[in-house]
């Protein structure tokens, strides 16, 4: 019984990282109808930078680096919209290129090393269950960010504009809302949240240069489980994925555990209506 609970707790803590990655995914999908494949790369970049520059300063620089990379993607996005690109897939492809470029940069500069830092040597014990302090921090941060994002979206003017841009970009534009700037900002948010997630992973399980796409997929999977619409659902989705992964690690083989995020994506996409767009919108 304790073992099961321990797995679940571990899963919840790890899942908050997925949740954090899921937030910018759903934001960008809502406001621009596309995916930023480089979110995992932002996490990787932040982790790498925080490895070479120690302490809180390193973390700060790491987050700035991640946001800068995201800003580059935002600029690419704006340039593409100027050249008359209408197809959402093109933005996604460009972010793909950036993700590949960043991963290659990391490989070049840092080699194949794993980026991992031990933060707390001692584990807490709550009622006989081992709880990692870093995990608690992860969960706390995840919940805090989700709350802040929720407040932003539903209680602020900026949030209202974002939701308007998401619901109807053309209408929002006509109402004077700077849709392109909001979309750019959403990319930046991806950099911030991805960078934060990267730091969290650095101090938990660690990662290496091959992780960027898996993280992006994991974030996407978490975003779509309960529907891609709200921050809370993203966090819950992440937690669900983390718990599934932890349970798989505990009770099944390493192979199944590694497959969990990908199976989530496959199953949810096959079963739900998300991503099906054949007759979306206009009547036949």
């Amino acid at each position: 019984m304790y073992v099961l609970t321990e797995y679940i707790v571990r899963g919840i803590q790890a899942g908050s990282i997925y949740g954090l990655l899921a937030l910018p995914m759903s934001l960008l999908f809502a406001t621009a109808g596309t995916i930023d494949f480089a979110v995992g790369a932002y996490a990787l970049l932040a982790a790498a930078v925080a490895t070479i520059v120690a302490g809180p300063l390193g973390i700060a620089i790491a987050i700035v680096a991640a946001i800068s990379a995201a800003a580059a993607m935002g600029v690419i996005f704006l340039v593409l919209t100027r050249t008359g690109t209408r197809d959402h897939i093109v933005f996604a492809l460009a972010s793909f290129g950036l993700a590949v470029a960043i991963a290659s940069f990391i490989l070049w500069q840092f080699g194949t090393q794993a980026f991992v830092r031990a933060s707390f040597s001692q584990f807490w014990s709550l009622g006989g269950i081992r709880i990692s302090p870093q995990g608690v921090i992860n969960l706390g941060l995840g919940a805090l960010v989700t709350l802040l994002l929720y407040l932003l979206l539903y209680w602020s003017d900026l949030g209202r504009m974002m939701r308007a841009a998401a619901a109807n970009p053309t209408g929002a534009e006509l109402a004077g809302i700077p849709v392109a700037r909001i979309q750019f900002g959403t990319y930046l948010a991806g950099g911030l949240l991805g960078g934060l997630a990267g730091i969290m992973i650095l101090y938990s399980a660690g990662l290496d240069f091959t992780a960027s796409l898996s993280l992006t997929l994991g974030g996407f999977g978490a975003a779509i489980i309960f529907g891609i619409t709200s921050p809370l659902r993203c966090l819950l989705g992440g937690v669900a994925m983390g718990v599934a992964e932890a349970l798989a690690a505990g009770y099944t083989s390493g192979m199944v555990t590694a497959m969990v995020p990908f199976l989530f994506v496959l199953i949810v996409l096959s079963v739900s209506n998300i991503g099906g767009g054949a007759m979306a919108g206009d009547r036949p």
Binding site: M279, D282, R283, P284
Partner: protein, 263 residues
């Protein structure tokens, strides 16, 4: 060619809204039938049910007595029932010939693997289709514009290309969804000519329109829908004079405008 496309008692609801209560209409081969009604009267719903895009739970669609209700859209096309779209769905970078060639799909004679292998039958077929496409384009009067991208043609010409695509599909019934929208009076007359040609060849035409000029010019019979049910069936002249129809379109001013509309 004795054929009849009929919808009987179609009922269609979306969530809590009943868009169509009892849709009934008949199109015989070689005739041009009109379907009119205000926005929200259910004409689009009936249209989409007949072409397989919506699946009604109540009512039947039959083709020469054969039940085709609820068939997938592509299966309906295979039965010889072809439709156009209110906003033309075409690749505006392609040219007219390419657009018309796409219409030949239902009549294809090769298999996917056969096409990959490049069997001689496929190549002969391709040549034949190219000739047929050119022939059809000449017939609708767009010969000179054959190789121009569709985006450079006028709306009237684009609508004609859509009609040509229906011809390519060897249609027995052509269902036109507001084809006159966006056309000048001259273009409308050209379109009328082409639609009459369709009927002359024995094709049954269903014309959904807001433009009463076209209805008046072409249709031998008109069905009027209001709030999901049929309120009148008759000739265009009768329709223009019926008080029920006038009330539906013009509200209280109907009695006053009554005499004028029939001109």
């Amino acid at each position: 060619m004795t054929g009849m496309l009929a919808a009987t008692g179609i009922r269609m609801s979306f969530g809590g809204l009943t868009a169509l209560k009892s849709g009934t209409i008949e199109v015989a081969a070689g005739t041009i039938i009109g379907l009119i009604g205000r926005n929200g009267s259910g004409k689009s719903t009936l249209f989409n049910c007949m072409t397989g895009y919506f699946r009604p739970k109540v009512g039947k669609i039959t083709l020469s007595g054969r039940d085709i209700t609820g068939l997938q859209p592509h299966r309906i096309v295979e039965q010889g029932i072809v439709r156009t779209f209110q906003t033309p769905r075409l690749d505006f970078d392609a040219n007219a010939r390419a657009a018309v060639l796409c219409g030949f799909y239902p009549a294809r004679t090769s298999t996917f693997l056969g096409a990959l292998a490049g069997l001689p039958g496929v190549r002969r077929e391709e040549r034949r289709l190219a000739e047929k496409a050119d022939h059809i384009i000449e017939r609708i009067g767009l010969g000179p514009q054959r190789d121009q991208p569709l985006g450079t043609l006028s709306m009237g010409q684009v609508r004609l290309v859509e009609v040509a695509r229906c011809l390519a599909a060897n249609a027995k019934f052509v269902l036109l969804d507001e084809p006159a929208a966006g056309l000048t009076r001259e273009e409308q007359l050209v379109l009328c000519g082409q639609i009459r040609e369709l009927a002359k060849q024995g094709i049954g035409v269903l014309l959904v329109e807001h433009n009463f000029f076209l209805i008046h010019e072409l249709c031998e019979r008109v069905t009027v829908l209001e709030e999901g049910a049929v309120i009148f069936v008759g000739t265009p002249g009768d329709v223009a004079r019926d008080p029920g129809v006038l009330r539906s379109y013009l509200g209280a001013a109907a009695e006053y405008a009554g005499g004028r509309v029939a001109e």
